[in-house]
């Protein structure tokens, strides 16, 4: 299918040529060159995502005009269509905004010089693996309680970049913060959707000769072949009626909440405690395969403190101060600050948040014309709740009603420790839902996460300024 890109676009990018040799072409693709003694790398894995079967993903060539334009831009910029784009294009409206913002952050005029921007990216990403990100700064973002401490922490992080001078201008700081949060979210998306490594990355290719049999040998080597058949079956094996019931039940709950909202009025304490419960609970929501150890990376030597990471505060016996969104929110405060110090970016991010938050096709699994705003708000607020951000006007009881445990586990993992997301987690929530809807969920997750982190960072900067 990726070969189709080349055919369609009539681009000639040297990098793309080798990449275009998808598994399907293994049978005949590279023979000629091998005679010349050149080792041709072949992509490993099945398509852009390890979680989503390749056939579910949009076939290049069948895209509409808008997607085509996006593909063209993306291809022109990178010389290839990266896997993230191929997965995100499920939601072209968002993808457009995403690419625009990313381009602006990385390529256009800004306070930080280009190499700093990429260094931040590498710092965040290389810490775990190729695409991947560990949560270098999650701790910092959550700990933002005192101004000096915040800036101390931030300086510690940023000091890594400017070894000698610790003096950063506010504009540079904001740029760095925006970049950090952007890469954090990107990491969440990468793991949340199981994006395959790009062909030029470690683990993205193999030099093994193609197999003569139907499937590619690489599928066996990385164990994807067997898994490939499984997800569809496993989901359906659980019994169709079961998962069908799942969707029905969810919709029923939404209906109920919609109707009885006004009737049973919870007391103030009740509301407050619901938030606390949800917040505390979110600390403990973790999948059983928590024990995986992320291998230490060689890049870690560039960073003083390798113990960075999302910390569950209740586990450590600490109290997370509640962040009241009514006192500091993105629309009123964050936007103005970002736009003041890093012009136009506030606008771009604002648009992206809006698109992600309001994106809906009014469908839920097999149902059409459903108002999903309640569900989307629950997901959004749940993520903010995990970060200790509270909406005064939200009944956190709704979250419990709408999000079941496996879904919470998935959200929690994607947002807080993305490198631990497994295919099983991805499959075990919302089994009846389409892949595009799960990608949609991921968009909500990453944007909510980005906003939460930004809010903490920007509030700290605001306090510093006053």
């Amino acid at each position: 299918m990726r070969l189709a890109t080349a055919a369609n676009e009539a681009y000639t990018a040297p990098l793309a040529v080798s990449e275009l040799l998808g598994c399907k072409q293994c049978g005949g693709g590279g023979d000629h060159d091998e005679e010349l003694g050149i080792r041709i790398p072949r992509p490993l894995g099945q398509g852009p995502s390890r979680f989503i079967p390749e056939k579910e993903i949009l076939q290049v060539g069948s895209e509409d005009a808008q997607m085509h334009a996006l593909f063209a831009d993306s291809f022109a910029a990178l010389g290839r269509l990266d896997n993230i784009t191929l997965v995100m294009v499920f939601h072209p409206q968002y993808l457009e905004s995403f690419l625009k913002t990313q381009h602006y952050l990385l390529q256009m005029d800004g306070p930080l010089p280009l190499h700093y921007r990429h260094y931040i990216g590498i710092m965040v990403c290389k810490h775990s693996c190729s695409y991947l990100v560990n949560l270098a700064l999650a701790q910092w973002f959550r700990e933002c309680s005192s101004k000096l401490q915040n800036l101390g922490e931030l300086n510690k992080v940023l000091g890594l970049l400017k070894a000698e001078e610790h003096s950063w201008s506010l504009a540079e700081l904001v740029h760095a913060v925006v970049l950090l949060t952007h890469y954090h979210s990107l990491a969440s998306f990468t793991f949340g959707c199981g994006i395959s490594p790009e062909i030029h990355c470690d683990g993205g290719h193999t030099f093994r000769p193609p197999s003569v049999s139907n499937y590619c040998i690489c599928d066996i080597t990385n164990g994807n072949h067997s898994v490939d058949e499984m997800p569809v079956n496993s989901a359906e094996n659980v019994s169709v009626s079961d998962s069908f019931f799942e969707v029905e039940a969810l919709m029923e709950k939404m209906r109920q909440l919609q109707e009885c909202r006004d009737e049973e009025e919870a007391s103030q304490e009740e509301m407050a405690s619901r938030f606390e419960i949800e917040k505390r609970e979110s600390m403990f929501v973790f999948s059983s395969d928590d024990d995986e150890v992320t291998p230490a990376r060689d890049v870690s030597r560039h960073f003083e403190d390798t113990s960075y990471g999302y910390k569950d505060f209740s586990r450590h016996g600490m109290h997370v101060p509640t962040f009241r969104v009514q006192d500091y929110c993105w629309e009123d405060h964050g936007y103005s600050l970002v736009n003041r110090l890093y012009p136009d970016v506030g606008q771009l991010i604002d648009e992206k948040f809006h698109i992600a938050y309001n994106l809906t096709y009014n469908t839920m699994a097999m149902h059409k014309d459903v108002d999903t705003s309640m569900l989307r708000r629950a997901i959004w607020n749940y993520i903010h709740c995990m970060f200790g951000i509270r909406y005064d006007d939200y009944d956190y009881g709704e979250i419990n009603q709408l999000l079941d445990r496996s879904f919470k586990v998935y959200i929690k993992t994607v947002v807080c420790t993305p490198e631990k997301v497994t295919k099983r987690m991805y499959e075990s929530f919302w089994r009846q839902f389409k892949h595009s809807e799960k990608v949609h969920v991921n968009l909500l997750l990453i944007e909510a996460r980005m906003q939460a982190e930004l809010l903490y960072a920007l509030r700290a900067i605001t306090r510093y300024m006053t």
Binding site: Q268, M271, Q326, D332, S336, L337, R340, D393, T462
Partner: protein, 790 residues
């Protein structure tokens, strides 16, 4: 409503008194509202809800409305409003979406009256009807506005904002049924309270959320809106379409806006982020605030004028947990700190300059205007009695005349006419132009031409003698000349009228205040010292140069070719690395302006280092000979062209551009080139140098310019017999089939150049007519007209 407000005034009783004061609150305030008696203010926030009495000297806490053991979100107020009819009635909007009313008349400790829990999201704003006792309006994040009748348990009507969050709702003060609402998407809607089904009017007021709005207390239909886009706009809603009357650009997003009582064009604003001050603007002067209150240390969240008919008391609450009363007379007025200046060119090149008298007087001391003088501020002053600062400043006007005898632009015309731009080898062109420039006394330009020749023509051919000659000229003749002849003689050499005038202005303004017929002859010493200061400041631009340094350098630069030869070796590395040594990167500019800069220096300083520069020159010259290709200099040449163009000598820029052609063209972007060409052509045409202008057009390589020649080249003629336009050919009329354009002399059809007399419209072959008119002054056609040929 007018009647009502008068009643209020009457009730308000005596004149308000008080002073600027503040009091500490326990917690950040989100909003404040004033009781109609102007003696009490209510402050509401997330964890504060108190009433303070405003006394003469201080605020006194009167009542804490936050009662009860447990903190409730119902008490976490986003907004508060005090009824303007009923002293006992208040309403608050809670962050959890509840609207609460409070009755101070209740005997119990808890004054809470009613609770409306209809909104699903935070309520951003509540507003009482200005005249109705029981009508309350609320606007919420959930996109709905609700109208409550306080005598009933539920809302009376709900207005839908199409799921856009409502940021502000305000009842019109003048129109009983109307209210305005503002939205997060930038829209403003106008509603009729009786028609909840759809809004009366909707328009986009801002880019991004509109945080606030306020109806003008007197002008019917004037609505002020403030948004995240940092703008305050005043709309006239009485017209068919909402019309933007005024727009004030602030420095941060606008959180609140309140019209100032009794001052038709004044309004107060405060910001939501970053900026902590409260500004009072005159909407007609949107750039400088009329007044500014700087008491708060964190963002101001609520502002309210204390009394609806008293313009001097403003109350404010802030996130810094304080409540302030500001007195207008204590406000700082930014305009007082501004320096109004006026500068204008007259028709004949005269320059008028007006400034505050104090400023001008101070200037006579030493360095005039240390600030940036390149961008003078223009104030257009209309006489308006309403303006508080009119007539405040007594200003001084200086007028500087250009030199009599039109010496001003003579050099331009001469140069334009005598320059050779094409048709000869490059070296010859350069030499020719250098000669022309030298003859006109423009030594710097002459040197530039010589340099260009050296750079671009085969170097071996350049006789060193030639070079030395020019150096000698620059060194020994140039300097004394400058010193003795003074600035006006410099003018042609510099090709910059602007700077001449300005420097003259500086030097002379002390002596010729209010003297329109000032002459140039003033104190020589004075002129010289100041002449050196001003351009130095001006030329070096951003680079901070020590004056001493500058002077030290100048002597070298008086010889234009020297830096150009030396530069290549060091200009490139220096350009980016060394920022704090102005001479490096600025060499070129220094050089170009050096005569001007050094005009003040005594011969003592200038002549001494000439020798050293000679040696430098010879070394670098040799270097260049052996190694450097002409391309190496293209950056330098480009900079030189830019420099001349910026100096106003676009003639030089264009001439060099034409002569060098491809050698430099690629280094300068198309638009700039085009800009230069058009400027030069425009100048030429103003001086009626049509031929030169045409030549330039022809030689230009810019498409947009060269097509100037092709435009409007058609001449429409009418048949001389039937008076109808001749469409096909110029000499045969299609209608009367006669040859129209007959030569009056030879009676043949004219197909080429045809000359007409504008008086009798007879004409013929150019040659024939010329010949004819040599012998006779009458028309050859015999019509008796006395034709003229010029």
């Amino acid at each position: 409503m007018e009647k009502m407000s008068r009643v209020t005034t009457a009730l308000g009783g005596s004149v308000l008194t008080g002073r600027t004061m503040h009091c500490h609150l326990d917690a950040p305030a989100n909003a404040i509202s004033v009781c109609r008696d102007a003696a009490q203010v209510v402050v509401a926030g997330r964890s504060i809800f108190k009433i303070y009495a405003i006394e003469e000297e201080q605020f006194v806490e009167k009542l804490n409305l936050r009662v009860g053991r447990k903190p409730s979100l119902n008490l976490s107020c986003a907004d508060v409003v005090w009824h303007q009819m009923d002293e006992n009635l208040l309403a608050t909007a809670a962050t959890n979406g509840v609207v609460v009313t409070w009755n101070l008349g209740r005997p119990s400790r808890n004054k809470q009256d009613q609770l409306f829990t209809e909104h699903k999201r935070t309520v951003n704003k509540v507003c009482f009807h200005p005249t109705e006792a029981h009508v309350l309006l609320s606007g919420s994040q959930d996109g709905f506005m609700k109208c409550f009748d306080l005598r009933r348990k539920d809302s009376v009507s709900t207005f839908s904002g199409q799921s856009e969050s409502v940021r502000d709702v305000q009842f019109s003060i003048r129109d009983y049924f109307t209210f305005a609402s503002t939205f997060e998407n930038g829209n403003v809607q106008l509603w009729d309270i009786r028609r909840p089904d759809r809004c009366e009017r909707m328009f986009t007021a801002h880019n991004g959320p509109v945080f606030c709005c306020d109806w003008h207390p007197e002008d019917r239909g004037w609505l002020a809106t403030g948004g995240r886009d940092k703008m305050v706009k005043v709309w006239d809603m009485t017209t068919h379409r909402a019309k933007e009357m005024h727009c004030v650009q602030t420095i941060a997003s606008v959180a609140r806006v309140k019209w100032r009582p009794e001052c038709r064009h004044h309004l107060a604003t405060c910001s939501m982020m970053v900026d902590h001050n409260i500004y009072v603007w005159d909407v007609r002067r949107p750039f400088v605030p009329a007044a500014m209150f700087e008491e708060h240390r964190d963002v101001t969240t609520g502002i309210a004028w204390r009394h609806p008919h008293d313009p001097s008391f403003l109350l404010s609450g802030s996130k810094d947990s304080s409540l302030c009363q500001h007195l207008f007379r204590d406000a700082s007025q930014p305009v007082e700190r501004a320096n109004p200046e006026g500068l204008c060119y007259g028709l004949f090149g005269d320059l008028a300059f007006a400034a505050k008298e104090s400023l001008v007087a101070a200037e006579s001391g030493r360095k005039p205007y240390t600030g940036d003088r390149r961008h003078p501020i223009f104030f257009k002053r209309k006489l308006d009695p309403a303006e508080p600062f009119a007539g405040l400043a007594s200003s001084a006007l200086s007028v500087f005349e250009t030199e009599p005898g039109g010496g001003g632009m003579r050099w331009f015309v001469d140069t334009a006419e005598r320059y050779a731009l094409a048709g000869r080898p490059l070296a010859e062109l350069c030499d020719h132009n250098a000669k022309v420039a030298r003859e006109l006394g423009r030594n710097q330009v002459a040197q530039t031409w010589t340099m260009l020749r050296i750079i671009y023509c085969s170097p071996g051919l350049v006789p060193t003698a030639n070079l030395n000659h020019s150096v000698g000229k620059g060194g020994s003749c140039g300097l004394p000349l400058m010193n003795s002849f003074n600035l006006k003689d410099m003018a042609p050499g510099l090709g910059s009228e602007t700077r001449l005038d300005r420097s003259k202005g500086d030097t002379r303004s002390d002596t010729v205040l209010l003297d329109s017929s000032a002459t140039l002859i003033t104190n020589e010493d004075n002129e010289e010292t100041e002449g050196s200061d001003v351009p130095a400041d001006y030329l070096l631009g951003d680079v901070e140069g020590e004056e001493d340094e500058l002077y030290l350098l100048d002597p070298e630069h008086t010889h234009p070719e020297e830096p150009e030869c030396v530069l290549p070796q060091e200009a490139f590395p220096l350009r980016h690395e060394i920022v704090d040594t102005p001479p490096g990167p600025e060499h070129l500019q220094d050089k170009a302006d050096s005569p001007h800069v050094s005009g003040s220096e005594a011969d003592v300083a200038s002549l001494a280092p000439v020798d050293s520069s000679f040696s430098l020159l010879s070394v670098s010259h040799a270097l260049y000979d052996s190694r450097l290709p002409p391309d190496f200099f293209s950056v330098l040449v480009r900079d030189m062209l830019h420099f001349y163009a910026e100096q106003g000598d676009v003639q030089m820029a264009v001439s060099v551009l034409i002569i060098l052609g491809e050698r430099v063209r690629k280094d300068i972007d198309e638009q700039t080139q085009e800009h230069w060409y058009t400027s030069y052509i425009d100048l030429l045409q103003r001086f009626r140098l049509w031929n030169v202008s045409n030549e330039v057009v022809k030689l230009s390589t810019s498409r947009a310019v060269s097509c100037l020649n092709q435009a409007s080249t058609t001449l429409h003629v009418n048949c001389s017999h039937c008076k109808r336009p001749m469409s096909n050919r110029g000499w045969v009329c299609d209608r009367c089939h006669r040859c129209a354009s007959m030569c009056a002399v030879c009676h043949h059809v004219v197909k080429g150049l045809f000359v007409w007399c504008q008086g009798c419209s007879h004409g013929g072959h150019l040659q024939h007519i010329m010949k004819w008119l040599e012998g006779s002054s009458h028309c050859p056609a015999g019509c008796g007209h006395l034709c003229e040929y010029s």
